[in-house]
């Protein structure tokens, strides 16, 4: 098959299924393929008229909405890479991200504008801002484009960009160990090779209705958006508030006749516990996909007992590769099973190997670090050549293997089993959390002299994060003050569960923080 860029899939689908519903924002509205194609053409032309050129980056700073989906394709069509930020994260973090990759423009909701500009470094170049009123089923974006047409010169129509396979399509920022988020650069080929694997594996149809549960800055969204809109299917947007409330989400999945569900396991566990699933009709649901963290078998068993009809897949992969292994869970889940399911076999567009600390292949069955190569693997981290170089193992055939940092074993049937991490990254609600980023945020508090954060497995929380602190002052901040400080400086999923004050933190003989000792104390 000849190569087409990531947005080419949507362009073709809009030609094949113009009257199909492309995106639904429940309670707010929907848009057809033909309408979305027209809207994204207009945005493409306007962005180009505002000076965006192929190779540029353009930020998206808004609630998950039809407008945001249109922004993604408008940006891709004009040849730029889209950079979605979390509208719920502190403005200072988003300002850092958008300055870091030097966005040429930002498509954003006007309510975020003043806070973002307050946090903008006066020395940094100012991006062009295409401001829309509260994102709502595409109407706000139409209004913004109409306004631009009347105030500025008309935007001449241009061709869709013919982006090369290695051109960047999107940059997704993840937690960085040094305290600053880092931008994972993904190319058009990274996107299309993964989308094509999804096509082959899940056989989507135009009648399908995909959930869009993950936020757009999260790599799970790549499957939702780009696979659904390749196949003429409908993408059903699930807002953040509804998405984390099982009592609201359970009826919505049924009413919207979702047929392909994809999310982190944590919300599926909540649905199994609090969703009262027997009260609703899930006959449309044919695939349940989950990724991002380990799904506790207890909750997976309960979910599959309540909803036995769909097929269940455990997908695995870091943002740097997106999904690289997958495992179909055969039902029923045995009553005596306690260990989590394997992460599965390698996806067909990639290759995996398991290596020791020196980068040598280990015998099958031995523990080692999982490394991945192939067209799905990222181009690198934005502006971080050293971290990029460290992320890859280059073998004697000059092939680049991304080192996941995940320790696995490979069974005789080629299924991999996840054992743990090599470093200080943990997963919470599917999000990557670098403990170092939490420490860096805590150090921003003038009251804190030392901060060290450890994570331990926890039966109810999945992972429990404990922060050990020492203070400069005799009277240290209260727990409420600490949590509020964290809420202002970190995404909510990074806030520690427990804060413990010490006179001083324990040190090793080389005067480093003694994390082993802290884990015993936590």
């Amino acid at each position: 098959m000849s190569y087409i860029p990531l947005h080419g899939y949507f362009v073709d689908a809009a030609r094949n299924w113009p009257r199909n519903t492309a995106v639904v924002d429940p309670g707010r509205g929907s848009i057809t393929y033909a309408e979305l194609a027209g809207l994204t053409d207009r945005l493409r032309d306007r962005l180009a008229a505002l000076g965006v050129r192929p190779g540029d980056r353009v930020g998206i700073y808004m609630r998950k909405s039809i407008d945001a989906v249109a922004a993604i394709y408008g940006i891709l069509k004009c040849g730029a890479a889209y950079v979605p930020v979390d509208p719920g994260a502190p403005a200072s973090r988003n300002a850092y991200i958008l300055q870091n990759c030097q966005v040429k423009a930002i498509v954003m909701e006007s309510r975020f504008q003043s806070k973002l500009l307050d946090d903008w470094d006066p020395q940094a170049p100012k991006p062009v801002i295409l401001s829309i009123d509260e994102a709502s089923a595409g109407a706000a974006l139409v209004q913004a484009l109409d306004d631009a047409d009347s105030k500025l010169d008309a935007a001449p129509a241009i061709e869709n960009a013919n982006s090369a396979p290695s051109d960047l399509a999107y940059i997704l920022y993840t937690s960085g160990s040094t305290g600053k988020p880092k931008g994972v650069m993904l190319s058009h080929e990274n996107g299309t090779s993964y989308v094509d694997w999804c096509t082959e594996t899940f056989q989507p149809r135009a009648e399908d209705r995909f959930s869009s549960h993950a936020p757009f800055h999260f790599d799970l969204s790549i499957l939702d958006i780009h696979v659904a809109l390749k196949h003429g299917a409908a993408l059903v947007l699930i807002g953040e508030d509804v998405g984390k409330t099982p009592e609201r989400l359970a009826p919505l999945i049924a009413e919207q006749r979702i047929s392909i569900w994809y999310s982190a396991p944590s919300i599926l566990a909540l649905l199994a516990q609090y969703g009262k699933l027997s009260q609703h009709d899930y006959s449309a649901l044919r695939l349940v996909l989950f990724a991002g963290e380990v799904f506790a078998v207890k909750h997976l068993r309960s979910l599959t007992q309540q909803l036995p009809a769909p097929r269940y897949f455990n997908l695995y992969g870091p943002t740097e590769t997106n999904v690289c292994t997958f495992y179909e869970v055969r039902l029923p889940v045995p009553d005596d099973r306690v260990s989590p399911y394997p992460i599965g076999i390698t996806c067909s567009h990639l290759r995996c190997r398991v290596v020791d600390a020196d980068g040598r292949d280990v015998p099958r069955g031995a523990e080692g670090e999982l490394c991945v190569t192939g067209p799905g693997v990222m181009q690198g981290y934005w502006g971080l050549p050293e971290q990029t170089a460290k992320a890859f193992l280059v073998d004697h055939a000059d092939e680049r293997w991304y080192k996941t940092g995940d320790v696995v074993t490979e069974a005789a049937d080629a299924n991999y089993t996840y054992l743990g991490r090599r470093d200080r990254m943990v997963k919470r609600r599917g999000y990557r959390v670098e403990l170092g980023e939490i420490e860096a945020a805590l150090y921003r508090s003038p009251a804190i002299k030392e901060a060290a954060v450890v994570a331990l497995p926890d039966e109810t929380l999945g992972v429990k994060i404990t922060a050990f602190l020492s203070s400069r002052e005799a009277k240290h901040p209260s727990l409420i003050e600490l949590k509020r400080f964290c809420a202002e400086n970190l995404p909510l999923y990074m806030i520690p569960d427990v804060f413990l004050w010490r006179e001083a933190l324990p040190k090793t003989s080389t005067d480093k923080t003694d994390y082993q000792r802290l884990k015993e104390l936590a």
Binding site: R248, Y274, L479, K483, R484, A487, Y493
Partner: protein, 83 residues
């Protein structure tokens, strides 16, 4: 009755989510959700507690910061349901 709701909410939050905190630090206006004290699962637990303790039922759309972000808001909402 009014004090009962506030006291019960505060006692529950202190015991479940703020172990060791000085009770005086938790005021009627302390932001609970936007202040990082209640995450989504903690909010669910609080609502289940309120439903059981006061015999009220919450609508799904009420489970957001607009209605539950402070003890004062929660008190108002619960009392309106009990009326």
């Amino acid at each position: 009755m009014a004090e009962d709701v506030k006291q019960a909410v505060k006692a529950f939050i202190l015991e479940e989510f703020l172990p060791g905190e000085n009770p005086e630090e938790l005021t009627d206006d302390t932001p609970l959700i936007t202040g990082g004290i209640l995450d989504s699962i903690a909010t669910l637990k609080l609502v289940l507690f309120l439903e059981e303790r006061f015999g009220v039922a919450f609508q799904p759309h009420e489970l957001d910061p607009e209605h539950l972000d402070t003890t004062a808001y929660i008190d108002r909402l619960v009392r309106s349901k009990m009326a």
